[in-house]
């Protein structure tokens, strides 16, 4: 047994100090209240202990102002925690616009990662320090949860949909990755590590692993062709199916006049259940691809469709950051 044991987790992301701050506030409130109440109760229980002279308690005194005070004051403190907590939460939920996107697939009992350049890893993910990193995650089987204690925060990895988690690592090192949602059998061994490297080391690492790399967009393009998606989804398709260039990240209008944001979950649904939300002006002709694509292939397809709009998107984000400055 190692006796020099930690009492507080390592802190290695931009979120960590913010989350720790509200945690310490919560601890402070809890400590003050629980110690305070314990002292008061102990004092009263001793001060008014039963003695031969003190056999019966005094009559209760009305205390409306007391009741109001001890309802309103705790409520006030809790509202502070609520607002502060919601701020931290939304910061943890919303990746910055320039975040680099990685893909994560969880399955019993391993983590699979894919870099934007196409490199794939299992149970270990290399990322550069100081880079806002966005993870788009799904599961091949049951619900898992992506949890790196040193980064704080976590996000469930749910089959049938894409969820997102983001972090910006602040110091190089190797950090533990846990699966936090019970997923059966070897749940406690579904771990791994996130290796945070200096920019230069990361570039070297990427270059050293280029041999294995099959860029997601490239392999997605192969699937796109193999499944003959391009028969209908092309520029001159003439209303058979919508052209997919630049569609990602934009709103499209449905037949009933509502609009839908084209994101990973919409693309996923349109491939597996094409009739669910059909774009205005098109007939529900497309057959379902449920059961014909593995989770991996589906992900490559979506990466490919996203890449079709990437150039335009990049311009847009550059424009917006220029506008901001």
């Amino acid at each position: 047994m190692r006796l020099g044991f930690p009492l507080f987790p390592d802190s290695a992301s931009t979120l960590a100090p913010k989350l720790d701050a509200i945690y310490f506030f919560g601890l402070l409130v809890s400590a003050v209240c629980s110690i305070g109440i314990a002292l008061v109760v102990f004092y009263l229980a001793v001060r008014y202990r039963r003695t031969p002279e003190n056999q019966v308690g005094h009559r209760e005194k009305a205390g409306l102002w007391l009741e109001v005070a001890w309802s309103v004051v705790p409520l006030g403190v809790m509202l502070v925690m609520f607002v502060w907590g919601a701020q931290v939460f939304f910061e943890a939920q919303r990746p910055p616009a320039d975040a680099v996107e990685y893909y994560v697939t969880g399955k019993q009992w391993m983590w699979k990662f894919q870099h934007p350049e196409g490199q794939r890893e299992i149970n270990t993910l290399h990322v550069p320090v100081g880079q806002p990193t966005k993870l788009t995650m799904t599961s091949e089987d049951v619900i898992h949860s992506f949890f790196v204690p040193a980064f704080r925060g976590k996000m469930d990895v749910v089959p049938g949909r894409y969820t997102q988690y983001w972090f910006e690592a602040t110091k190089p090192g190797t950090y533990r990755l846990f699966c936090a949602e019970y997923c059966g059998g070897e749940h406690s061994l579904m771990g791994g590590s996130i290796v945070v490297m200096e920019e230069r080391d990361y570039e070297r690492w990427l270059a050293g692993n280029r041999g294995e790399a099959v860029a997601g967009a490239a392999s997605g393009a192969e699937i796109f062709a193999a499944k003959t998606c391009n028969t209908c989804h092309r520029e001159d398709s003439d209303l058979q199916g919508p052209y997919l260039q630049g569609i990602f990240g934009h709103e499209v209008e449905m037949a009933d006049g509502t609009t839908v944001m084209v994101d990973e979950n919409y693309l996923r649904e349109s491939i597996l259940d094409p009739g669910a939300q059909v774009v205005k002006g098109y007939q529900p002709l497309m057959p379902t691809y449920a059961g014909q694509l593995s989770e991996e292939e589906l992900l490559q397809l979506i990466i490919y469709i996203k890449s079709l709009g990437a150039e335009e998107g990049a311009e847009a984000s550059v424009a917006s950051s220029e506008a901001a400055s």
Binding site: W70, K154, D156
Partner: protein, 550 residues
């Protein structure tokens, strides 16, 4: 009064034989049937906790295999929640005391009351049967699609066990509500009711309104698992998050089914051992109802990182903060009751004081968990495990033990060893904190729950926790011994050994079959010790006056 007439016959010796117990409709005997049931399941769930803590004493998964460990924590949760915590206080103390406290002869529906015990036992046997055949490994939460498509353990039979236990709970709640509405003694207005009764009324509301949703959820889960009807499994076109919504729509209010009766017990203990009316009676009473109502609106705080909409999360976070207010109000009122009281440090009061400390910690860490910014880190870690054990064991079990020690003389007519009961109360308090406090630290460090093996640097805190668990176990074992001992060798208890206030103390110990020889009339406010003392002095004077005259 009636005590003298009934001396000799009481509900325990009114009839003999196994049949007289198994077919009884006497609420007091049914309470004892529940006592046997919940004690058995508590021992069973406790045994699993022992194995869990043994396994976690070392980082490697060595004492049991991962699959065994997963079954252990699942069955520990299922047994403790469905077959101990939910039925314990309502089934044992509620059944025994509620009719007596309101001056009634029995429950409104005595046969339904007996039926609820049989349904509870049938549910328990389903769960026990599943265990004997290898158990279930889904966690007590039965999250889909793991439970419906991946686990190859006894999910359906265990779920049927929970399903049945739910019906027992509904019938008990229904019986309480009708009994409180219809069978109060003359003069016992709503605001003269003991707070124990108010708490059980609020509990009854949750039982009958929330439990059906559990039944629906379990049926849907069984339908998907057995017949591949796609409801929750995305591979069948279902939505796994829908299951979580349905599950927590029951299972969060279920937490209040466990804690509200405990709060009711607390009000009785604090007032009896401070010999003082509860401070802010109406606030405490309405706080119970407030908790019951708000408790229905907070389930989404279990799902901040589930991919539930973040905006829904904000609302659930806010409402969860609100539900903490009535809980805080209760704690402050109990504390204020001690002011200018006559505080006696008897065993039941030790449990009550322990409850205040542990429930405060459990409640405050609950507020931290409702804070979204904190929850995203500690969700599904040992922080959560520590938090809900502080509420469920620290609060509910402390109140249950305190209540048992308080009413044991009434239930059995016998006294137990004061010395050993104080020793065990102390052991429970110390052992509990040693077991669960380190888990808060483990949680923030990042140790996920339901892990059968863990990194080495978490070991010291885990060893502390396991050591605490053995002290805690001892603290629960000792009462088992002296309670049994007292039934045979205990000193005979008077009808009111604590000189406490309440109708249950005005009848003999143990009470006669129909509780009172004649229906009592209530003229005082609840816990009005001061007025009772004045009346006693008047009677004493009246008694001595004629002597002087003569």
């Amino acid at each position: 009064m009636s005590a003298n007439e009934n001396r000799g016959t009481n509900y325990l010796n009114a009839d003999y034989g196994v049949k007289s117990w198994l077919l009884t409709v006497d609420h007091k005997r049914i309470a004892l049937l529940y006592l046997i049931g919940v004690t058995f399941f508590f021992a069973l769930g406790g045994l699993m906790a022992v194995l869990i803590r043994l396994e976690l004493a070392t980082p490697a998964g060595d004492i049991v295999q991962a699959d065994t460990y997963n079954r252990l924590f699942t069955m520990h949760g299922v047994v403790m929640i469905f077959f101990f915590l939910i039925p314990a206080i309502p089934g044992v103390l509620g059944n025994f005391l509620l009719p007596i406290m309101i001056g009634a002869k029995d429950m409104a529906f005595p046969k339904v009351n007996l039926a609820s015990w049989y349904i509870y036992m049938a549910g328990g046997l389903f769960a026990a049967w599943s265990m004997l055949h290898g158990g279930v490994d889904t966690g007590w939460t039965f999250y889909t699609p793991f439970s419906t498509a991946f686990s190859n353990t006894y999910v359906i039979s265990t779920a049927i066990g929970g399903f049945l236990a739910g019906f027992s709970s509904i019938l008990t709640g229904l019986n309480f509500i009708v009994t409180i509405h219809r069978l109060r003694a003359p003069g016992l207005t709503w605001f003269r009711l003991p707070l124990f009764v108010w708490a059980h009324y609020a509990t009854g509301l949750i039982q009958i309104l929330a439990t059906p949703v559990l039944a629906i959820t379990l049926v849907l889960m069984i339908a998907e698992r057995a017949f591949k009807i796609g409801i929750f499994d995305p591979a069948l076109g279902g939505d796994p998050i829908l299951f979580q919504h349905l599950f927590w729509f029951y299972s969060h209010p279920a937490v209040y089914i466990m804690i509200l009766p405990a709060m009711g017990v607390m009000s009785e203990l604090i007032s009896a051992f401070a010999r003082k009316r509860i401070f802010g009676y109406k606030f405490v009473a309405f706080a119970s109802v407030g908790i019951a109502v708000l408790g229905f609106l907070v389930w989404g705080h279990h799902m901040f990182v589930s991919s539930q909409s973040p905006y829904a999360g904000v609302i659930f976070s806010f409402l969860s903060m609100l539900v903490a207010v009535p809980s805080a109000v209760k704690v402050f009122n109990w504390a204020a009751t001690l002011y200018q009281g006559s505080v006696s440090w008897q065993t039941p009061m030790l449990y009550a004081l322990g409850f205040i400390g542990l429930f405060t910690i459990g409640g405050l860490t609950g507020v931290m968990l409702a804070t979204m910014g904190i929850d995203i880190h500690v969700h599904d870690t040992y922080f959560v495990v520590a938090h809900f054990h502080y509420v469920m064991v620290g609060a509910t079990l402390m109140a249950y033990m305190g209540g048992l020690h308080f009413w044991w003389p009434k239930i059995t007519g016998k006294m137990y060893s004061i010395f050993w009961s104080k020793v065990s109360a102390l052991l429970v308090f110390v052992g509990f904190n040693l077991t669960f406090f380190p888990q808060f630290l483990l949680g923030y460090l990042g140790m996920p729950r339901r892990y059968h093996a863990y990194p080495e640097d978490f070991q010291v805190l885990n060893v502390l926790s396991s050591a605490g668990a053995s002290v805690l176990g001892l603290g629960y074992l000792i009462p088992l011994i002296y309670f049994f001992w007292s039934m045979r060798y205990g000193k005979k208890a008077e009808s009111n050994p604590w000189d406490a206030f309440g109708l249950e103390w005005e009848t003999s110990s143990p009470p006669p079959t129909f509780n009172f020889s004649e229906t009592p009339t209530v003229t005082l406010e609840a816990y009005d010790y001061a007025r009772r003392e004045e009346l006693r002095q008047e009677t004493r004077q009246a008694r001595t006056q004629p002597v002087k005259d003569a």
